[in-house]
């Protein structure tokens, strides 16, 4: 009893401490959310106070002036497709690289890893896309995003796929499964926590990016949601309350995705298999 009791107390202390710590994190976010409901003058104090009146009209205005419905669709499409391509391709590649421990696979791994360090060069990328003949198209942006995040995804997957025991593969092979089958049917579900984590991170990184669309999408009707914030950078001043409302709306989809994906990260299946 003493041990369990101690455990329970320890948990409470930790929980209490963490709740306190979370307030540090919440502070600026609360300012953001409250600010988005304030009037233009009120928001300038950047304080924790509640709005005098809740200006829901801010959100309506932001939605309309920012063309958010179109921007949202653009973002969803671009982010969704490029994330899916990236995750599927990268996890498949990492699987092979993790299983085949040869010099070649090691070299390929390094090749991918360098992508984390090497700087992206916008001008030369534009030239490549021009050469392929589809500069300005959404497809080019999707493929660029898929490429840019490959290093990150491969890096993350490689680390975790190693924790899946080979024994599982071997059994499945004995059953006549192909390597595709092993990967998609056995390994992928087992690395669900990692899949969810990587998926959310790649999605987030693509969603929030504001440089690629500016250089590669010439038609502003194809712009993504985060860029809509520039609608509210006035010539002489900034309407912070509208900007905040815009930020809240833009961050909402990713946040919802995270809450949704949390479930899968939490319900993690253990990689430890018990052979019976």
């Amino acid at each position: 009893m003493g041990y369990t009791r101690k455990l329970a107390i320890r948990n409470y202390i930790v929980e209490g401490f963490l709740i306190l710590a979370s307030l540090i994190v919440l502070l600026p976010l609360v300012i953001l959310i409250f600010g988005s409901f304030k009037t233009s003058a009120e928001v300038l104090s950047f304080s924790l106070s509640l709005p005098d009146t809740w200006q829901f009209s801010n959100y309506v205005r932001v939605f309309e002036e920012g063309g958010l419905s179109r921007a949202f669709l653009n973002s969803i499409w671009i982010t969704g497709v490029s994330s899916v391509i990236n995750i599927v391709a990268s996890s498949a590649a990492s699987f092979i690289l993790a299983r085949r421990e040869t010099k070649v696979s090691g070299a390929i791994y390094m090749y991918f890893f360098m992508g984390l360090i090497a700087p992206m060069s916008i001008i030369t990328t534009i030239r490549v896309v021009q050469g392929l003949g589809f500069y300005g198209s959404i497809t080019s942006v999707i493929l660029i995003y898929a490429a840019l995040n490959t290093a990150f995804s491969v890096f993350l997957y490689s680390g975790f796929i190693k924790t899946i025991p080979r024994a599982l593969d071997e059994v499945a092979f004995l059953e006549g499964a192909s390597v595709f089958g092993v990967f998609f049917r056995i390994v992928t579900p087992l690395i669900l926590p990692v899949n969810a984590t990587v998926a959310i991170m790649v999605f987030m990184s693509v969603w929030n990016d504001i440089t690629i669309p500016v250089y590669f999408l010439t038609d502003s009707s194809t712009w993504t949601m985060p860029l809509s914030i520039y609608n509210f950078y006035g010539k002489y001043s900034r309407d912070w309350n509208l900007i905040f409302a815009n930020l809240v709306l833009t961050s909402l989809p990713v946040f919802i995705l995270y809450l949704f994906g949390q479930k899968y990260i939490v319900s993690g299946l253990t990689a430890g298999a018990v052979k019976g």
């Binding site: 499945a172 001043s237 018990v274």
Partner: protein, 466 residues
């Protein structure tokens, strides 16, 4: 071994994995080959779906708003900063009218304000040039390499009707288009109401300026607002002060400077001017957070009557008036010397045509259209510009503008600020000024460091003499 009965336990000790393995039996061995194909087909189709679906998306937008567009309809790409969205040239009614008359559509490429320069530079570098660009002439010289990239417009049909060619030219040739000959006046923007209330008159020299600052401070209002987080704002005073001094005492200075015969540190008065601006701060006549307050706070500060003055251009007056037409602001010259002249630098918002535009003819057609008497008059009237066309009349100007015209432009008490003579980027100078305000550099050190950087930049650029 154990055929297909690997049991995986999750954290709740439930057996969940057996099903997977069981499914492998039977069907799998036969379908191995097909599975492999299936997976690669899935991947390939994902790619092709996005290619086809989005490929059309990319082309679609080109003719989206056209409606009845049959045949090869030309679309002009006009690149403009998002913050200039209220520019008269791109108002929808003008674009629609143009399309009606010529069947040429104008598509706006909006660029986020902060990235306008880099995006345009990149586009020019990769030959993805828009057909028309709206930009600031003075900056275009250095930022966008005006001479190399843009068409000379000397022989356009409307060129002969231009009254003031200087505000649209560089190096003797006409490069840009505007219906207005407004220049941005840079000096001390001030709240007329406050001056009246406190019985203050416009200072004619530095000592008088300090005196009125003292009076304003005593009344509880911050005399001067300095938003020097935006480093360029710290250069308004020096740019005007230097130019004014040089115009009266050393007219060839800038030529000498640009051919390395003289340096910034050579003129001791420059040091004084930098000291002056800093003194206003140290004497407590400004906002406390000089280095963290930014330009976008300025309008609010004036509207709330928290500040009385600011070293800025007269475009600020317009911004405040938009929010509150009852505010009366004016501008007087930077009081760095006795009876200084009002600084002037070309305004932005001119239209340029890149040489590599894919639709040169149509682009020039657009300029013709705007230059036409009716359209130009319409624009000039709606925006209150000083007309730059011989056959377009200037409407009644807002009072502050009229004041400027009467008190400074007509009696020729203006002087072009140093910006007009610069061939290189001045960001480092702005940063050095920030350093001065952070207490790190003396005016001497600022000028010396800027001299070094300046000659290095000129050398990199290949200017003769460096």
């Amino acid at each position: 071994m154990y055929r297909g009965e690997i049991k995986i336990y999750n954290r709740d000790c439930k057996r969940i994995h057996i099903k997977f393995i069981k499914r492998f039996r039977g069907g799998f061995a036969l379908k191995t080959h097909k599975r492999k194909k299936a997976a690669s087909i899935v991947l390939a189709s994902l790619l092709s779906i996005s290619l086809t679906a989005c490929g059309s998306g990319g082309n679609d937008s080109g003719t989206a708003a056209g409606g009845d567009s049959k045949g090869a309809k030309v679309t002009l790409e006009l690149a403009i900063s998002k913050s200039s969205q209220d520019s008269a040239f791109i108002q929808q009614d003008i674009l629609d009218e143009f399309e009606k008359q010529t069947n040429v559509r104008v598509n706006l490429q909006l660029i986020p304000a902060e990235q306008t320069t880099t995006v345009l530079q990149t586009k020019l570098a990769v030959d993805e040039t828009p057909d028309i660009i709206q930009y600031n002439l003075a900056s275009a010289v250095t930022d966008l390499n005006l001479e190399r990239n843009f068409e000379i417009l000397d022989n356009e049909p409307w060129a002969s009707r231009i009254v003031n060619k200087d505000v649209l030219s560089s190096g003797g040739h006409l490069y840009s288009f505007h219906v207005s000959q407004d220049t941005g006046m840079q000096g001390v923007v001030y709240n007329k109401q406050i001056f009246e209330d406190l019985g203050l008159s416009i200072p004619t020299n530095y000592e008088e300026f300090l005196a009125i600052c003292e009076k304003i401070k005593a009344s509880g209002i911050t005399p001067v607002f300095m938003p020097y987080k935006d480093a360029w704002a710290a250069n308004i005073w020096p740019a005007a002060a230097f130019a004014d001094f040089v115009a009266k005492n050393d007219p060839t200075f800038f030529d000498d400077l640009n051919s390395n015969k003289k340096k910034w540190s050579d003129i001791p008065e420059f040091k004084t001017f930098l000291e002056q601006q800093y003194e206003v701060y140290t004497k407590g006549y400004t906002n406390t957070d000089v280095l963290s307050d930014s330009y976008d706070m300025a309008v609010g500060k004036f509207l709330n009557k928290e500040v009385a003055m600011m070293f800025m251009g007269d475009w600020l007056i317009e911004g405040v008036a938009e929010q509150d037409p009852s505010m009366e602001l004016g501008v007087f010259p930077i009081p760095s010397s006795q009876d200084a002249s009002l600084g002037a630098s070309p305004l932005g918002g001119q239209l340029f045509i890149p040489k590599k535009s894919k639709h040169l003819e149509e682009a020039k057609q657009f300029l013709n259209f705007i230059a036409s008497k009716e359209v130009a008059q319409q624009i000039v009237d709606s925006k209150g510009y000083v007309s730059n066309f011989s056959d377009v009349t200037t409407p009644e100007l807002p009072s502050y503008k009229q004041d400027i015209v009467d008190n400074y432009i007509t009696p020729k008490k203006t002087v072009l600020t140093t910006d007009a003579y610069m061939l290189v980027d001045r960001s480092e100078l702005y940063r050095l000024l920030q350093d001065q305000f952070a207490g790190g550099l003396t005016p001497e050190e600022v000028l010396k460091a800027w001299d070094e950087k300046f000659s290095q930049l000129m050398q990199d650029k290949g200017v003769a003499g460096f």
